[in-house]
Symmetry: C2
């Protein structure tokens, strides 16, 4: 299959045709290769673009010698299918259209199916811009990448950032994650670690011979309950932090006093803190320096979990919103004018942090309702694509 | 193979010969059939005994019309072998003899191997009594049963108690579990149940959209920590109770606010309480009546875990020591005279509770050190068998 585009059609029809074509190509993570091939071929057919590929990630750039360069990035993979592939267009009035979408867009056709919001609608808009914006005000780099919906180690954008950081350099980046065409800036950092209590095993008929590690964890959970989530303002946006136990396990058998218990804790921290500063708040500076991924258990010398064992499981820095740059300020004004929406802080960790680490300010801006991402009835009204395309065309064209 | 006994030999040699023969017959749980066959044939050859069999449990009785009947019971199965089969006799000075046994019994030969203490030594003594006590003061019932070391549902004594309760009626019962020839009376009851907290799942980047079930469990663990183990005297023996979490689990994923957490609790309660009374202390009377095994989750209306979900996993009643009966009082005096030992409370749950449920007072009294049960170097000095045989012969003969 080849992606085709009929530039004699109206803009809306072109966007819908692109969306239909990439929705119909199954691309659950690990199986995005065929869609990547099609996207690569489509971009390579545009004479004003230079196309490069690393794994299943395709990077296409204009090279017009403009003063600034903007990056538009979207992932091509989806989460697994739940009876929502192949996709279909729902005509106005179709009962499969969610009520809030039907109310807001009564005359729209709606694309339904896996990837509709996360994030093939934005991908379709970017492909449309790649084909039609032949003389943009800034140089443009399009990134279509793989493995966003799975473990970070597989992430195609991460791999390109490591292998070819020069391919994705620029002055500002947009990732098309669904935001309902609003700007969501920066992101909280996130880390996950086990808090570990140790005890002494014994037969539960003679409990006083042992030392119950699960009972000790009462203190860990009491500390979590005593924590009050902080709202932190960075560059004018408000980030809410959180420290939560997400998993717990412990014990050796139904009749054995447990000699271990682990609480898996997820700390989401605002972009006013470096990773090291955030770690120190959890486990003390000394332990933060020692407790690296894969480096085993360390006793927390300070912080919220002082005195317990800590084993790091995952860590990702936060990203500042980057809305103070002049290019970004223009975009903020334009989005406000078209949608009435002010920028919001992004709370979940997203790939904008990867650009942030390369020194490129980045925001999320995409079509579709973010609350529908990963849902079985993922769907997007056709006017969302037009709105996103109009904003980006005016900003870049 | 047939079990043989040469009654021209000295008592010690007869006991050792019986022990050797039943030790050499492998009888790990599920494979006790061949040993049961041998024991049945041996008992059937005694003209003063009536022998019955149910599954792999053999019951042999005298029927002399005595005023009282005493039951002597022993299980024939062992826990799995750990390089400790076949058994062997260790001569005095053998380095494989444990130091505490060598010090206490410097001139004894020692039987080493799987089942030596738990509980073929007592079985050997009972077989010896079965063959030699042809004119006892009381009627006797010998029970040799299967599947003691595995799940209660397979327990041979339980099956006979259900199918033929009349076979094991009597005025007093002794189970030959290893007690070093002391009396261990009654037993604590035990129950296991899950205490369940519910919450609302949410992405951990938006924790305030959810309700963290693991954090709620802080309160459950605080209640457990506030509990002070009680020492409770019943019929002159002291039983120590205990409430312990032995397992904990909860959570749906590393980045998800958990909507469930389960704490598996084990309550060991003294024989001053019925099962229903003990359950009411944990979950309130109403819930105790409703929360039966296999009957799902019920909210605790009272007790230690009031307000949480309760799912029963296991329940076994306690047993009073039964040492106030005249027959028992004689035995207590005799054991004290021969061993210097006063009766002790049994803390772990044992099969004495099955007799207790049938209205038969029961104690544990057997050869061998209970701390060696299930060890890879299980062993028993030969004089332990003689001591047990002497006590029972004098009491019953």
């Amino acid at each position: 299959m080849t992606i085709t585009l009929d530039n004699t059609e109206a803009q809306g029809n072109q966007l819908n045709a692109l969306l239909t074509q990439i929705m119909e190509q199954y691309s659950v993570s690990d199986e995005e290769g065929p869609l990547t091939d099609e996207v690569e071929a489509f971009l390579a057919a545009q004479p004003h673009l230079t196309v490069r590929r690393h794994g299943d990630t395709v990077v296409a750039s204009t090279n017009l010698g403009r003063q600034n360069r903007v990056i538009l990035a979207g992932h091509l993979d989806t989460v697994p299918v739940i009876d929502n592939f192949p996709p279909r267009w729902l005509e106005p009035g179709d009962p499969a259209i969610r009520s809030e979408i039907a109310e807001a867009h009564p005359n729209d056709r709606v694309m339904w199916g896996r990837g509709a919001t996360d994030m093939k609608s934005s991908d379709a808009v970017m492909l449309y811009l790649a084909a039609t914006l032949t003389e943009p005000k800034v140089d443009l780099t399009y990134v279509f990448y793989d493995h966003e919906e799975v473990a970070a180690e597989k992430n195609g954008l991460r791999k390109v950032a490591e292998a070819h950081p020069d391919w994705i350099q620029g002055d500002f980046a947009i990732i098309g994650e669904p935001t309902g065409c609003g700007i969501e800036g920066g992101c909280n950092g996130t880390m996950r670690f086990d808090v570990i209590a140790h005890g002494v095993a014994a037969h539960s008929a003679r409990a006083w011979m042992g030392d119950n590690a699960i009972h000790k964890v009462a203190d860990v959970l009491n500390r979590l309950n005593a924590y009050e989530p902080a709202d932190i303002e960075v560059d004018g946006l408000t980030y809410r932090e959180g420290v939560n136990a997400t998993l717990i396990s412990g014990g050796n058998g139904t009749n054995v006093i447990p000699d271990w218990c682990r609480v898996h804790v997820n700390y989401r921290f605002a972009p006013d803190k470096t990773l090291a500063e955030a770690k120190a708040l959890m486990m003390g500076e000394e332990t933060a320096a020692a407790a690296q991924l894969g480096n085993g258990e360390h006793e927390a010398t300070g912080g919220m979990f002082a005195g317990y064992g800590i084993e790091m499981k995952d860590e990702s820095p936060s990203a500042r919103p980057g809305l103070t740059a002049p290019l970004a300020a223009d975009l903020v004004r334009l989005v406000k004018e078209r949608t009435g929406r002010d920028p919001l802080a992004k709370l979940g960790w997203t790939d904008v942090a990867r650009f942030s680490q390369l020194g490129v300010p980045a925001v999320n801006l995409g079509a579709g309702d973010p609350l529908l991402a990963h849902k079985h009835d993922e769907q997007v009204p056709e006017s969302d694509l037009v709105q996103l395309a109009d904003i980006l065309q005016e900003w870049l064209g």
